[in-house]
């Protein structure tokens, strides 16, 4: 293409008035080996443009919807566990089983055990007498 024509196109280009096809012409012109020296500086520009348009994204697209699914499944698993839990505890037998035939013996056995418990309680409580010493000492200092 003629030099004067190129210069005219360049002028239009910088005014933003070139069409896409005119810009393509410019690109083709400036990616050639030899360009007149006063236009040399535009060579970089158009070369840069054509080089940039070849850059490609390297990562492959991953539509990992699987993560969403695992979250959904966690919910399902939790509700199943909850429902199962409720039913299992409801159906479990909670009635106490009789171990004595005669209520009189049962009463006595119960009394015996309660006595034993209170006896141990009292034995343990005797040791607590020493706590009074703290109180006494404190009263000595603080009146």
């Amino acid at each position: 293409m003629e030099l004067s024509n190129i210069e005219k196109l360049l002028e239009k280009y910088f005014e933003g008035e070139t069409t896409i096809s005119e810009e393509k012409e410019l690109k083709v012109y400036f990616t050639r080996e030899t360009v007149p020296s006063h236009l040399e500086r535009y060579k970089d520009l158009f070369q840069y443009f054509s080089e940039e348009s070849t850059i490609k994204a390297t990562k492959d697209l991953k539509l990992n919807t699987s993560r969403k699914f695992t979250y959904a499944w966690i919910g399902v698993a939790a509700s199943v566990a909850l429902i199962a839990g409720i039913f299992l505890t409801r159906t479990a037998p909670s009635k106490s089983v009789d171990t004595f035939e005669d209520p009189e013996i049962a009463l006595q056995e119960t009394k015996k055990i309660l006595n034993m418990v209170s006896q141990y309680m009292n034995e343990g409580k005797q040791e607590l007498v020493y706590l009074k010493e703290f109180e006494n000492t404190k009263n000595k200092f603080i009146k």
Binding site: Y13, F14, E15, G16, E17, I20, E23, K24, E40, R41, Y42, D44, L45, Q47, Y48, F49, E51, E52, S53, I55, K56, A57, T58, K59, L61, K62, L63, T65
Partner: protein
């Protein structure tokens, strides 16, 4: 819509999304993440996809919005995006290195432009969308696109001239 059909559809413009994101966020990794996020969002709303006039333009708008959100978050968090994409990774001759280096200057100049101009130049000069499409993607009118385009290009020319004359930018 099936997963495969979605992937084939988006593969047509996935790289464009990536390049736009990279233009705005600069870092490669951030741009990859942005692309993933946008496509995932699109996939989640696939039911509405038939209602979109132009899925590609819609995805571009989403990318722009996503990147702006990211940039805003960075600003408030007082963080700078760290990028090291300027180096040449290919083993090459001195000449090639020099050539690449001067192309990197263009990239640097471009990335110093205001976001709006940067995006418009990316969409027009690199992706070759026409002004009407860009106006739709960015939700601005066509005149604004043309003005921003011209301003951005002139700014680049100015900077290139400076570099050409003094060897610095």
């Amino acid at each position: 819509m099936k997963e495969r059909a979605f992937i084939t559809l988006t593969n047509g413009f996935k790289d464009k999304l990536f390049r736009l994101a990279k233009r705005l966020l600069v870092s490669n990794e951030e741009a990859e993440d942005a692309t993933q996020e946008v496509l995932l969002k699109l996939w989640k709303n696939k039911g509405k996809m038939a209602g979109y006039k132009n899925v590609e333009a819609f995805a571009m708008t989403m990318t722009k919005n996503y990147c702006f959100d990211k940039l805003k978050a960075k600003e408030t968090a007082n963080l700078k995006i760290v990028h090291s994409n300027y180096k040449d990774e290919r083993p090459s001759l001195q000449r090639q290195v020099e050539a690449k280096d001067s192309l990197d200057w263009v990239g640097k100049i471009l990335n110093d432009l205001p976001e709006q101009q940067r995006m418009i130049i990316q969409l027009r000069d690199i992706e070759q969308y026409d002004n009407a499409e860009i106006a739709e993607m960015l939700k601005i009118n066509e005149t604004a696109v043309r003005v921003a385009l011209s301003r951005g290009r002139k700014k680049i020319r100015e900077e290139l001239l400076k570099k050409h004359n003094y060897g610095i930018v």
